[in-house]
Amino acid sequence: MAVLRPPYLATAALSGLLFGAGLYVSQMVDPLKVLRFLDFTAIPSGGWDPSLAFVIVPAILVMFIAVRIGRGRSAPLFDKEFHEPEYKRIDTRLVGGAALFGIGWGMSGICPGPAIALIAFPPDGVWLFLAALVVGSYAGSLIVPSGHAKRLVDAK
């Protein structure tokens, strides 16, 4: 089974390590720094922190190159196919989900990556936050159709 072979798991581990390192080095694990980006009211006074944009743009550029490289290949190195996201439709679930996520993100300054990374140096309250994240995600899974075939029908 491809997903249990050592090179596959080593790739997942390397990717996770790089991701966690990037979140720390960029200080995106600091909720206040994220909120300081989202606080556009601070732009006139010069107190706005544009750092988050300087994180996400290089990240997109590097991944853009990887996607280009991938397009020239029939399969990734350690699996039989690229798992392209199957959903294509722009629907209420996408927009509503993104909006609810936006409210939670604006309330806390924590998106899912930093939420996990914070386990490395857990601040007060982070376990409660993570528990709520799990419960919320599970609740969401109850209304999202499960199973590959059903998802695909729903996606088109």
Binding site: V3, L9, L14, F19, Y24, W105, G136
Partner: protein, 150 residues
């Protein structure tokens, strides 16, 4: 602008992009944290690599914090969670629970967060992801404005 850190931001962002590139070209998987995390429930055959990735993410953050303590987390480590706006009178645990529920639920039904839609989706030139990114950034900015949490 004193807290603006463009160099470490770009370096960290490049590492995040590299992480996404490694997972895509190696395993053909999207490095979307909410997806990797959210599909632990219900456990599938893919649960092993998801757990390995998430454990390594924690280790990566911890390791760099030990190697480069000077980068700091806002100058203080560990980073503190941000308390709710004082005037709202909401107990901090309630605020955190509501935020966590919204993020978990929203990223599940919207199929992605800052990494899956933001980094990977935009890099794939996905229109769906562009819509999601505009919505969650827009709503988050409005939320911060309304709450005055900063």
């Amino acid at each position: 602008m004193e807290s603006f850190t463009p160099l470490t931001a770009a370096l960290g962002g490049s590492l995040i992009g590299l992480a996404a590139a490694v997972l895509w070209l190696g395993n053909g998987r999207i490095a979307g944290i909410s997806g990797i995390f959210g599909q632990l429930l219900p456990p599938a055959q893919t649960v092993v690599w998801r757990l390995v990735f998430l454990a390594a993410l924690v280790l990566g953050a911890w390791g760099t914090s030990r190697l480069f303590p000077a980068v700091g987390v806002g100058g203080v480590e560990p980073a503190a969670l941000v308390p709710p706006p004082a005037t709202w009178g909401v107990p901090p645990p309630v605020w955190l629970i509501v935020a966590g529920l919204l993020i978990g639920f929203g990223t599940k039904i919207g199929n992605g967060c800052t990494s899956g839609h933001g980094v990977c989706g935009l890099a794939r030139l996905s229109l769906r992801s562009l819509v999601a990114v505009l919505v969650f950034f827009g709503v988050a900015i409005i939320t911060v404005t309304v709450t005055g949490i900063v």
